[in-house]
């Protein structure tokens, strides 16, 4: 399979293109508007690939997503976990926990890993041409290299936030320990952020890839003995809020227009 990680350094954001070279089909995960829909379309075309779907791990708060544009441009579905229904104001294609996407020989299994947000989903990827064992997991903003996603990016509307900060921290702890850390040790970890991103804490590594085993051993947040210790640790090691996160989140939820979100941000 083809796995390309695109890094947008100013926001320390990573998006992904996963493809089957035989089927000549590709999917894009978490495309960022700062690179733009055209960027992804050209990357796929350079390799003779047709984009068949656009996936997001969650509704982002620290960057403007171009998933809608990219999906529309290619006439393909924009996928979000069904838990985003009622939160997101535009049409998208929902899927349930455990849903399997197939891109030629590439198998992508949706794992609902809430906490950072209520709908947050990680994607477990298997290259069936290589083996039946999973190869890597796209962890979005749940598990980072050396850190975890922050549970405090709320926009102040209970109906849209769904879970409060305490609830999110407790849920995230469970998502990582019970779901991600239950994966085989050799499974690689590729997150949506790294380094200086404000979506996680001060311990986030600048390296945008790891393994489940490495994180089990060295991730300081996850090495906290209890869920309460974890929540406290995450709060104590948090960074300043991402710039403009409430407005960006509102745009990504479909509450405001592109002009409104781009208007005031520097």
């Amino acid at each position: 399979m083809i796995m390309k990680q695109f890094r947008y350094e100013p926001l320390a954001q990573a998006s992904y293109l996963l493809a089957c070279p035989r089927a000549k089909e590709a999917i894009v995960v978490d495309p960022i508007d700062n690179l733009g829909a055209e960027f992804y379309v050209l990357e796929a075309a350079d390799l003779g690939l047709a984009i068949t779907a656009v996936l997001e791990t969650h509704v982002h708060a620290d960057y403007i997503s171009c998933a809608r544009e990219l999906a529309e441009m290619n006439g393909v579905p924009h996928y979000l976990n069904e838990k985003a229904k009622g939160l997101v104001q535009y049409e998208f294609t929902p899927f349930a926990d455990g849903h399997v996407f197939e891109v030629g020989g590439v198998r992508i299994e949706a794992m609902h890993t809430p906490g950072h947000t209520p709908e947050h989903t990680s994607y477990l990827v298997t290259d069936t041409a290589r083996s039946d064992d999973p190869w890597f997991v796209l962890t979005g903003d749940s598990l980072f290299v050396g850190d975890v996603g922050r549970p405090d990016l709320l926009i102040g509307d209970q109906a849209l936030d769904v879970m409060g900060e305490e609830d999110r921290a407790a849920t995230l702890y469970r998502s990582v320990t019970e779901k991600l850390f239950a994966l085989p040790d050799f499974v690689e970890v590729y997150p949506n952020h790294y380094g200086g991103s404000t979506c996680g804490g001060v311990n986030m590594s600048g390296k945008a890839g790891s393994t489940i085993a490495f994180e089990k051993k060295f991730n300081l947040a996850m090495r906290q003995p209890t869920a309460e210790d974890f929540a406290r640790f995450v709060k104590e090691t948090s960074k300043p809020f991402p710039d403009d996160y409430q407005r960006i989140k509102s745009y990504n939820l479909g509450l405001i227009s592109k002009e409104e979100v781009q208007g005031a941000s520097a």
């Binding site: 000549k24 829909a37 055209e38 379309v41 050209l42 075309a45 350079d46 390799l47 003779g48 047709a50 441009m73 290619n74 006439g75």
Partner: protein, 203 residues
């Protein structure tokens, strides 16, 4: 350019360049379209090696942003490009304009029915010399279009190259000229991997 404008230009001799990969092209394409696959890395060089300089072209690529980039690449390389087909194949069909299909076969089918076809190898002469399908003829993909249009198709033609990119280009030009041409997907790589017979050219 909207479909009707493209059609009008085609009626005056413009050529539609379909820049999608061979598979979707063979399934359905703008009638008379010539297949030359897009990429940014070497489109200009491949075009310079093969496309007639004096023709007027219209790009069909999907989605639209690809077409715009392709138009610029070709214009920068010195080609006359009138524009691109806005809305792609969907818009073309919605306007009720004609599409065509290019027959697609694989090497197993070709091997089984080899006597029904005249195989045309579109690779470079040295590639053909090294190993080709017995009974096939070489017509290099860089030849002028008149050469493709003059190939005798009293027997249905089967086009091959290394995989299928160059052969799809030649097959589409032959189809434009009304020839009975099929594209062999997988080409000489698949043929060789299957262990099917190869002939070397004697010096």
């Amino acid at each position: 350019m909207i479909p009707q404008e493209v059609q009008a230009a085609v009626a005056e001799g413009a050529v539609v360049l379909d820049m999608r990969p061979p598979k979707p092209f063979t399934k359905e394409h703008v009638g008379g379209g010539v297949n030359i696959q897009f990429n940014r890395a070497d489109l200009a060089e491949r075009a310079e090696m093969s496309l007639p300089m004096d023709a007027r072209y219209i790009v069909h690529a999907e989605p639209d942003p690809i077409a715009k980039v392709a138009v610029k690449i070709l214009q920068d390389a010195g080609f006359t490009v009138l524009g691109h087909l806005e809305g792609g194949l969907k818009a073309w069909k919605a306007a009720g304009l004609p599409t065509a299909e290019l027959p697609l076969i694989d090497v197993d089918h070709l091997k089984a029915k080899i006597d029904d076809y005249k195989v045309i190898d579109t690779r470079e002469r040295f590639e053909f010399k090294y190993g080709h399908i017995p009974g096939s003829d070489v017509v290099e993909w860089t030849e002028p279009w008149e050469k493709f249009e003059a190939v005798d198709d009293s027997k249905p033609l089967a086009l091959v190259c290394g995989d299928q990119v160059r052969s799809s280009y030649v097959a589409s030009i032959m189809q434009r000229a009304g020839k009975n041409a099929s594209l062999v997907f997988g080409g000489m790589v698949d043929w060789t991997e299957r262990g099917y017979p190869l002939e070397k050219t004697k010096k």
